[in-house]
């Protein structure tokens, strides 16, 4: 069907080009349309635009005040541009072909479900295989994480009045210093993997981003609590940093996730609930509680995607075990948990300098390490490790907790 388009006084660059493009698209490659219009520049703009777009152009000169009239033949370049295009999975991850097993690097930053032009540049994403990163729970955990975001300004009772003994306040400051250091590692590690992750795995990318934002907030509130009554924070030890450095240096996403989220943050969950329970003041209790709630999600994601990974490839399990052993070997000559942190935990759990209280405090910390060990073993068993393996691997976990 012949398409005749009358632009009236509408100029080409005022929106007329949209009508012309639409008419050419409707006509199809190789087909002709006629365009008329009274805009004074129409012939000139049409000529140069058709030339650039590869369309045939034939002008019928206007007589006096009559409208310009031109025949345009669709050169087919637009159709050719999309000849080799690919649909990058489906936006809905629940569909069978929603998330592909191997995401082509040339899909790049395209939204999942978008049509990607052939010849798009390849991006240097390293994490391109679903098996390494994906969890069907990622979308649910992301939604949960977004809904559970809290505002440090209002969620913490910063105005609460309390006075602690100097020694107890110092113990709290030391704990906060230690927590900040650990949470910094927990921020850097997912952030580094976000940059390596193919954006096709959108829900995982989003979840890791919220995870990093969680840690940023934890660092914020721990710092504020540490400086509430002191001008300076506490001590950072070489052994503690050496332990965290093995996590930061781990190049493989699944292994880093196992060591950090399942073992490290899993252990940290017990620690944060312990601090919340024995906190000497309401601010310390609140920051520990809110951080623990967030960490729970991080652990859940680690377990979820590693479970899925192991379901598809059980040969990966020995590699996870080896990673714990390797880390243990690397750290065996370091000091582990710094003595100041251990002492601070005992003092806080004791609540006073009374010898009986101290004995009780020490016992509580011993119970804590036992609870941490049991938690790790439970999570390891959930990942399919035998009781014996779980016990061995848990015992090799860093003495620095994270």
């Amino acid at each position: 069907m012949q398409i005749d388009l009358d632009l009236g006084p509408l100029g080409f660059s005022e929106g007329g080009h949209l009508l012309i493009k639409r008419a050419l698209r409707n006509a199809g490659a190789g087909q002709s349309i006629t365009v008329t219009g009274t805009s004074p520049e129409l012939e000139i703009d049409l000529r140069s635009w058709c030339r650039d777009e590869g369309h045939g152009f034939e002008l019928q000169p206007r007589n006096g005040e009559k409208p310009a009239r031109a025949a345009i033949v669709n050169g087919g370049a637009e159709a050719k541009r999309w000849t080799g295009a690919q649909r990058a999975g489906q936006a809905d991850a629940a569909l069978a072909d929603g998330v592909v097993g191997h995401a082509p690097r040339r899909w790049g930053l395209a939204a999942r479900g978008a049509t990607v032009e052939g010849g798009s540049p390849e991006f240097d994403f390293h994490l391109v295989d679903k098996i390494e990163v994906w969890s069907d729970d990622a979308a649910r955990l992301y939604a949960q994480a977004v809904a559970a975001q809290w505002d440090p300004k209002t969620a913490i009772p910063w105005d609460a009045r309390f006075e602690l003994d100097d020694d107890v306040e110092d113990a709290v400051v030391q704990l906060m210093t230690y927590l900040i250091e650990n949470e910094t590692a927990a921020l850097i590690i997912p952030s580094r993997f976000i940059a390596q992750l193919h954006p096709h795995f959108r829900e995982v990318m989003q979840l890791l981003a919220v995870q990093a934002a969680d840690e940023a907030r934890h660092i914020d509130v721990f710092t504020r609590r540490g400086l509430m009554k002191r001008d300076h924070l506490g001590l950072s030890t070489a052994g503690g940093q050496a332990s965290l450095k093995t996590l930061v240096d781990e190049p493989e996403f699944a292994i880093a996730s196992f060591l950090l989220s399942v073992l490290g943050e899993g252990t940290f969950l017990s620690l944060l609930w312990f601090i919340e329970r024995y906190a000497p003041d309401p601010v310390t209790a609140a920051v520990a509680k809110l951080a623990a709630q967030d960490e729970g999600r991080h652990v859940a994601f680690g377990i979820a995607h590693l479970t899925q990974h192991l379901n598809n490839d059980s040969s990966f399990r020995p590699r996870l075990a080896d990673s714990v052993r390797r880390r243990h070997d690397a750290l065996q000559h370091t000091a582990g948990l710094n003595a100041e942190v251990f002492d601070a935990l005992v003092l806080i759990a004791a609540g006073s300098w009374d010898p009986e209280d101290l004995r009780r405090g020490h016992q509580r910390v011993m119970d804590l390490t036992k609870e941490m060990d049991e938690g790790r073993q439970k999570r390891l068993r959930r990942l399919g490790f035998s009781e014996q393996e779980a016990a061995e691997l848990s015992s090799l976990h860093t003495r620095n907790f994270m």
């Binding site: 703009d45 140069s48 635009w49 650039d52 080799g84 010849g119």
Partner: protein, 286 residues
């Protein structure tokens, strides 16, 4: 001398993208058994000289460089041929813009005015429109003042900076008219250099052609034929080719033609633009 087993093309480095484009085509040709390399020149005159000295087999020439080559060839008893050009090299026009509220209604009204043009060696933004005005009886430097925006001389206006400056001069009142390529009106409007409603097109030249791939007689015919065939069969549908076409500004290569250079030839005859260059190169060749 250029190696006979390898096709060497000359191009002018008017923009860093030239390297990306010809590196891409080199890879494309290499995968199809054509050993191809290219040499970049900083200006077209050096490229034309190199072509006649046998340092390159084919030259990606501006329309002015084509005329230079054609005339040198004629002077020394050789022959130049335009083998291929882009679809976008055909049927360009230049326009003369004035401000919408200007009293300039016809070409004769330019008398005593200031007309901004692009680079001194730009076919589309100086030579052709000034030749057109002369044909119409309005003579540059006699009837009106020419303000030249000489960006990157030797590149024959490939860099549109000169045209952009001419358009700016029109908008800020430093000039009464500006000569630009037809398509640049849309481009300058989109980027905000000119306002569509604040300008009016006073005149448009007849259509003319732009660049071509030029070869001289005695070029290695099998290499040239393979080169031409590979260019002509390239398709915009190819993922490998399309990004290069987008950078180079074409949808397909077409066989060369030379009838579109008559306006420019008349203009350079009128202004004597290339006479001494052609003479100099011809003498070197003897």
């Amino acid at each position: 001398m250029a190696d006979k087993a390898q096709l060497i093309m000359g191009a002018v480095a008017y923009d860093p993208k030239v390297v990306v484009i010809w590196d891409g085509f080199q890879k494309y040709f290499g995968a199809r058994d054509l050993d191809f390399d290219y040499v970049l020149f900083s200006n077209y005159e050096k490229q034309v000289e190199a072509h006649f000295r046998g340092l390159i087999h084919v030259a990606w020439n501006s329309p002015l460089a084509w005329l230079e080559s054609e005339r040198v060839a004629k002077a020394v008893g050789r022959r130049a041929e335009a083998i291929v050009m882009r679809d976008t090299d055909m049927d360009l026009t230049s326009i003369i813009l004035v401000r919408a509220d200007s009293g300039i209604r016809e070409l004769a009204d330019l008398k005593g005015k200031k007309v901004a043009v692009g680079a001194s060696d730009s076919p589309q933004a100086k030579l052709i429109p000034l030749g057109f005005l002369s044909e119409k009886g309005v003579r540059p430097d006699t009837d009106f003042t020419v303000i030249v925006f000489d960006k990157l001389a030797g590149k024959h206006g490939d860099h549109i900076g000169g045209e952009r400056d001419a358009a700016r001069a029109l908008m800020n009142g430093d000039a009464d008219a500006a000569c630009i390529l037809d398509g640049n009106r849309l481009g300058f409007t989109r980027e905000g250099t000119i306002s569509s409603s604040a300008t009016r097109i006073l005149a448009q030249t007849p259509p003319f052609d732009h660049c071509n791939l030029t070869v001289l007689d005695r070029a290695p015919s099998s290499l040239i034929n393979r080169f031409r065939d590979l260019l002509l069969e390239m398709s915009y549908a190819s993922d490998e080719v399309r990004p290069l076409f987008d950078l180079e500004g074409l949808k397909r290569w077409l066989p060369g033609r030379t009838q579109g250079y008559a306006q420019l030839a008349a203009a350079v005859d009128r202004f004597g633009t290339i006479d001494s260059f052609v003479k100099g190169v011809a003498e070197q060749c003897k």
